[in-house]
């Protein structure tokens, strides 16, 4: 147990927590928007895994991390477009299509990875970090929280953008209505299908970006099934946050600490089987669901396709 609390270790732990939290934050914020608009987006795991794969591919072949992120976000959006077409426009069962997309893309990315990289397992160079002036000089907290890749700051800023959208804009109101009372939105002359499509596409872009960050910055490599339930954790975050973006941030950080602890304990050589440590984040989810599950309120029309004139 020596050194568990020394400064370097603590800084590394927190740094890892933020790195682990960012994909969850992006997925959670994305899922929150879909759920607000009445679409339960189970396919988010599939969007993340394709984002991770394309993000890695883009960064690996172009040599630019930013092109990788772009590719990841576009990949996530492409999956979201399929989901929007099938579930929002055609009104097919969101759970069935969501599972199908997740399974299929997990299989497809594993298949493609096998043919491309299974012999070489190439890695990306470590990502550039941007230190925030002054704040980065704080001992322990500085290197842990304020020396990250720019996408991290973008993700945190996005929390406040989302708050602004939900509270102050017409779009936010429309999204809310699309989830709670789609018929009312329709009567007000706003296209429910279009509003929900915007929400699902945004979810796809954010989930894809989250996946790309996970592969490019978090791991520096793409391996099959790399997301390992991160998308599902995003869904849990969105459920528990009850529509509030700030809660998604706190929740993501909490899970980030759990995930980071998992790696930290392994590095510190604490003698515990990895399987037990790997259970931590999911255990944390179950405990949170037991404690706060009752309060997890969801929009009234969640999961129901909207068809004009249908009862």
């Amino acid at each position: 147990m020596t050194g568990l609390f020394d400064e370097v270790f603590l800084a590394a732990l927190l740094f890892g927590a933020v790195t682990a939290a960012v994909p969850l934050l992006l997925a959670g914020l994305g899922e929150q928007m879909s759920e607000k608009a009445g679409v339960l987006n189970i396919g988010i795991e599939g969007m993340m895994i394709l984002g991770a794969y394309l993000g890695f591919l883009g960064a690996y072949y172009s040599g630019s991390l930013w092109l990788g992120f772009l590719a990841g976000a576009l990949g996530g959006m492409a999956v979201a477009a399929v989901m929007a077409l099938l579930c929002v426009r055609l009104g097919l069962n969101q759970i069935v299509i969501g599972i199908a997309l997740t399974l299929g893309l997990e299989g497809l990315t594993a298949l493609l990875h096998h043919f491309q990289f299974s012999r070489s397992y190439p890695r990306l160079p470590a990502a550039d970090k941007t230190a925030i002036p002054l704040l980065a000089d704080i001992p322990v907290l500085g290197p842990a929280l304020f020396q990250h890749h720019l996408v991290v700051y973008f993700a945190v800023a996005l929390v406040f953008v989302m708050i602004y959208i939900y509270r102050r804009t017409q779009l936010g109101l429309n999204l809310q209505a699309a989830g709670d009372k789609p018929a009312a939105l329709d009567v007000a002359g706003i296209d429910v299908i279009r509003t929900r499509t915007i929400a699902v596409l945004t979810t796809g872009a954010l989930a894809g970006l989250g996946g790309a960050y996970l592969a490019n910055v978090g791991a520096g490599i793409f391996i099959p099934f790399i997301t390992n339930g991160a998308g599902f954790l995003g869904i849990v975050l969105a459920m528990l946050a009850r529509g509030r973006p700030l809660w998604v941030l706190f929740g993501a950080l909490l899970f980030g600490v759990c995930l980071s602890l998992t790696t930290a304990m392994q590095v510190a050589g604490i003698n515990m089987p990895t399987d037990i440590i790997q259970m931590l984040p999911f255990l944390a989810v179950m405990i949170m669901l037991v404690l706060f599950g009752r309060k997890a309120s969801l929009p009234a029309a969640l999961g129901m396709p909207y068809e004009r004139g249908a009862r």
Binding site: L90, L103, G104, G107, L108, P273, I276
Partner: protein
């Protein structure tokens, strides 16, 4: 007796309504085979894209999974756990509960059976030891579903999330149990103690097919009959179709919810036990065939009808056994089966939509 279930949440993929007349049956057949063919073509294009001859791949799958004597026996044996899983999913889905935790329940059932089987055969008659192992596997899997069941029944927490989380936990816990609690000290491979071949479920006649297949068939037919022919099944269907209406008609929805989860998880646990006691004999560390996730689409394709599910499970079994062999010969990882299954699911959902919105309305 049949129940007209109008699901509130979806227009597509409703539970099957019994067919009337020949034309309807033909339409059903076209609407099922058409999407499967389309999916085979699309998946074939993916194979082409990665430089594998799709005809050779499908050829190997059919040859190994269906035509070779040894292969078809393996296919039939593989059906046993899949049938139990499908039976469990039919109960849950018909009652409107999304038990997506099948894999965790399956693995914990498998580990329980693998721990109990070799231990009990030492001082019990084989048949009694096997029965006890089956019962233990069922009980453990049921227990694993209790928390999601309680959360759904009394707190209204979405069971999709909780069962998925429990499946992640269950997979890790199964590994922990194999590595720490039930490790076989006599081998270097981390695995549980092996049930001797002569103590496993008997094989059918002179073949290598495990009698687990019969148990699986009995389970899924029983589930189908219970869901469509009994008052209990009717109650569950009402809960699935409209939970609020179920409350108003005086059904004890929380109790029924817990019962559904227990039955569904218990059957998943049996699936694990039947695979261990009939075929594998032990559980190796990090063993997770992920049958549960692959069976979910089959149950949908069968429109939650037990008899149709037998057919689709047979198909999945061919794909799975044949896919493993084709994977070795052509170097295509078995993940391709996942891709194929998911494309089938999507094409089927689209076909259902077309059926629902164009063909039916034209006839009316």
């Amino acid at each position: 007796m049949s129940v007209e279930t109008t699901q509130t949440s979806s227009t597509a993929l409703e539970p099957a309504i019994p067919e009337t007349g020949k034309g309807d049956l033909l339409r059903r057949l076209v609407m099922t085979l058409g999407p499967i063919l389309a999916a085979l073509v699309i998946a074939g294009c993916i194979l082409l894209a990665v430089g594998v001859d799709p005809l050779a791949y499908y050829g190997f799958v059919i040859e190994r999974g269906l035509l070779s004597p040894l292969g078809v026996q393996q296919t039939l044996t593989r059906m046993a756990p899949l049938l139990f899983l499908a039976a469990g999913l039919i109960v849950a889905f018909r009652a409107g509960m999304w038990n997506l935790g099948g894999d965790g329940q399956f693995l914990l059932g498998a580990v329980s059976a693998a721990a109990a089987g070799p231990f009990l055969v030492q001082f019990l008659p084989t048949w009694l030891a096997l029965v006890c192992a089956f019962l233990l596997a069922t009980a453990v899997a049921m227990l694993w579903s209790l928390l999601p069941a309680l959360l759904r029944a009394y707190q209204g927490v979405n069971e999709i999330i909780t069962t998925l989380m429990m499946t992640f936990l269950g997979t890790s816990l199964a590994n922990v149990l194999v590595k720490l609690a039930f490790l076989d000290p006599s081998t270097t491979v981390p695995q549980t103690r092996t049930l001797p071949v002569e103590d496993r479920l008997p094989r059918l006649f002179d073949t290598t097919i495990s009698s687990g297949l019969l148990l699986g068939l009995v389970a899924i037919i029983a589930v189908h009959l219970v869901m469509t022919r009994t008052a209990f099944g009717l109650k569950l269907q009402v809960v699935g179709a409209n939970p609020r209406a179920a409350v108003h008609s005086g059904l004890g929805v929380p109790t029924l919810t817990i019962a559904v989860f227990a039955i569904s998880a218990g059957l998943a646990g049996l699936a694990g036990a039947v695979d261990i006691l009939g075929v594998q004999g032990n559980v190796r560390a990090d063993w997770n065939p992920a049958y549960g996730m692959a069976v979910i689409p089959m149950v949908f394709l069968a429109r939650m009808n037990g008899f149709a599910a037998i057919g689709f499970v047979f198909l999945l079994s061919i794909l799975s056994i044949g896919g493993e062999s084709a994977a070795r010969r052509l170097g295509v990882p078995h993940h391709f089966t996942l891709v194929l299954v998911s494309i089938v699911l999507i094409t089927l959902a689209i076909a259902e939509y077309i059926d629902h919105h164009f063909i039916k309305t034209r006839r009316v």
